[in-house]
Amino acid sequence: MRIDALLERLLGNAAWLVALIGAALTTVGTLLPWTYDRSILHDLTVYFYPAGAQVYTIILGGLALVYLLAQRGPLAGLLGVLFRGGSGPVRMAGIFATVVVWLTLIAIAAALGGMVNVDPGGFVSGAGALILLVGSRAMPVEETPELNGELHDIIEILIIAAVLGGLLLTAAYALNTDQAWIFVLVLIMVGGVAAILQKGGLLGWFTRMAGRHRRVTLLAAFVVAFLFPLTQGDSDANMSIATQILIFAATAIGLNIVVGLAGLLDLGYVAFLGSGAYVGAMLSASTFANIGWTPPFPLVLLIGALVAGFLGIIIGSPTLRVSGDYLAIVTLAFGEIFRLTVNNLDGTNGPDLTNGPNGIPAIPDLELFGFNFGDQHTIFGVTMGRFANYYFVLLILIAFVITVFARLNNSRIGRGWIAIREDERAAEAMGVNTFGLKLLAFAGGAMLAGLAGTIKAHHDVSVTPDQYVFLESAFLVAAIVLGGMGTVAGVLLGATILKLLPEKLRFFSEYRLLFFGAVLILMMRFRPEGLVASRRRQLEFHEEDEALAERVEDDVAEVTAR
């Protein structure tokens, strides 16, 4: 921050101009070639129109230009309506543009052996991004404006549809690239655009608009998710990742009931997913299943949920006596007991139920109403493989899980949970049945995980004890913490990040756990409320923020009035 003050003193009123020059150079540089080798990052050798990584740069540089021109100059009146926020968005643009451009240049240098292989365009953009960064840091800090306009309903709905459609196309584009560099750059660019729009108030405006048309937004999001397999062509690899994300996200949302709403830290939650999976496996037609009873799958689903819910009640019952860190340890111990137990029930150390460390392999594909999930089928001329079938079922599952979560969140029960999370003693004094609600949180969350588990068993083809270790529980908690506690969007985001990155970044897979540990530490240090924070949650971590407190109060008043 001291550097910012120094820059501000040095540049003074010229800061805006410096930033403008930087933004212009960044944008212009993308129209020149960045290197001579066509094979790198989608052909960066062309003149007068941007390609590949240059597009990401032009988006960020262009946004910076728009925001700068909205402050001064002839276009200020026209652009000033929407693009407010002063230096905030420009600063974000500066940071992200610099990262994108220089990462691209480093990628070129790494692929061809040295910076000499970067053509002038790259340096123009690179220098421009740095000038933009310096100029924007010298501009005085302004608060994020609140944009409050309302448009005609139909226009608002069209905007929502367009934004979600754009997200679908971006996701499809990013997933289908086979180059890790491009994938990383797209991610940074998308993150940058989100950060810029957030600082400019547009993201908040969009969120409020989506909130006004909640049903439309949910429907549109669901349609987008439904269309996703159609963008993937015949690629089973991406569909496999997508199904894994959905299973993980459904489980994490179940856990979010326990951790996010009721504030009970559960570090053994993966045991519920595991129990569901083991029920699914043991009651399947696998030759290694020792029970010898294969009921129809809907019944298995029910049994899996009930068994997990029963375990949830057993695990939840000590919550009557212990709380806080101790509860975390108790649940951690339960998780370990589950793992050790399924590892030992192999016939020599106990009754032969789980086939011990080998687990239950060769679980056949699901068959529902005469449709075998291993079969391929064709929609609109696109061939859908095995994982697409599971994807659609899991989509229904996650829609169900989200509905349960949202319903509970807005109900009397949900408010009881939040009261317990905030202050258990006070909640009890106000007549909240704390013990019953805590048990319900454990049982409900566990049942959702059990449901996901029964499908996971068929999806994975086999279940083994080493899939259900403490690290998986830690990952689930991390998905919630990273994304934002108590929100659905946050958990979905967190789950996607945690499952997608390791799959897509093979070069990074060796280090991913190291980075994961570091990210947990840094997140707790700098943004403990998560990426998508509910306002109330945010307030808990920023108690001294008066403005935020007022906004939360307004929100509460709004909800009560409704």
Binding site: V322, D325, F334, P351, Y511, L514, G517
Partner: protein, 314 residues
């Protein structure tokens, strides 16, 4: 009777190991009410520190007794160094944050340390790949022929662990009760604010508490290496969980409680192997019994065996 005595010795030596680690949980908790989830990794780092010193400074088959103190010092240096960095960069910034934050940070630290050892240890030339269990240097006097007494066989490493615990407990008692710093530590754990007013540098005391725990965990790391003849980067997780169980069993915050809790837990495991009937006995289920014990203690006597303070925290 011989069987019982044998299990008694086994249990006591296992319990000594738990007790040495458990002290680390308890001293830190006693002062800042933080469960340092990453303490198991401090123990693991200790073992790797000792291994590193041995590999760097001595021949592979150097087995004389005087090497042992050097290894212990190396282990302590590694553990204490890591713990100081950990306190400074991970825990201190969060001292006034909501309770969940340091807990998540601790999980992060623990994963980070495990991975750091796994990734970088194998890369240093001359070392074994850390992905597998690494053989730990053996010291002739401590790991040689077991001592046979009547029908009972005592592994020398087991005896070493028990002796180390006795030695450390005496030192710890002296440090806590007879030195200025120790008494400042007691005062801080009673009431940090008043202690601060009395001119005690609370930040320094917290660091010292972390360091005391780390030093004992380092000794436990060496003892573990000598006892099981090999170490690996995952060994901290289960040991840390067990040691935490021991700390809770004895009453967390009470240093002597940690020692008692460790010994009780070790004995309980050893006896469960021998005396639980049918298929649920034997080594396969001993960890399960330890965790069942933890849950029972937390549910029915959350203040632990020696803890007098009523534990009531949200």
């Amino acid at each position: 009777m011989d069987q019982f005595l044998q299990q008694l010795i086994n249990g006591l030596s296992l319990g000594s190991l738990y007790a040495l680690i458990a002290v680390g949980y308890t001293v830190v908790y006693g002062i800042i009410q933080l469960i340092n989830f990453a303490h198991g990794e401090v123990f693991m780092i200790g073992a790797f520190g000792a291994l590193t010193v041995h590999t760097v400074a001595f021949d592979e088959d150097m087995r004389s007794l005087w090497v042992l103190p050097v290894m212990v010092i190396g282990a302590m240096a590694a553990s204490v160094g890591v713990v100081i960095l950990m306190e400074r960069f991970a825990y201190r910034p969060l001292r006034n944050a909501p309770r969940l934050a340091p807990l998540i940070t601790a999980i992060g630290v623990s994963i980070f340390l495990q991975e750091a050892v796994r990734l970088f240890y194998g890369r240093i030339p001359g070392f074994d790949d850390a992905k597998r269990a690494i053989p730990f240097p053996q010291i002739e006097f401590v790991t040689g022929e077991p001592i046979a007494m009547g029908g009972v066989v005592i592994q020398r490493a087991a005896a070493f662990t028990i002796v180390a615990l006795i030695f450390c407990t005496v030192l710890l008692w002296f440090f806590v009760n007879r030195t200025r710093t120790g008494r400042a530590m007691q005062a801080t754990s009673q009431d940090p604010d008043t202690a601060r007013l009395m001119g005690i540098n609370v930040d320094r005391i917290i660091v010292i508490a972390f360091c005391v725990g780390a030093a004992l965990a380092a000794i436990a790391g060496v003892a573990h290496g000598l006892r099981y003849t090999q170490i690996d980067f995952r060994m901290g997780f289960l040991a840390g969980l067990k040691a935490f169980t021991a700390a809770v069993l004895g009453g967390i915050g009470n240093i002597y409680g940690a020692v008692v809790g460790g010994l009780v837990l070790g004995l309980a495991e050893a006896m469960a192997i021998q005396y639980v009937p049918g298929q649920f006995g034997g080594t396969a289920w001993k960890d399960v019994w330890a965790f069942v014990l933890l849950i029972l203690v937390l549910v029915f006597r959350p203040q632990g065996l020696l803890g007098a303070r009523v534990v009531d925290r949200a």
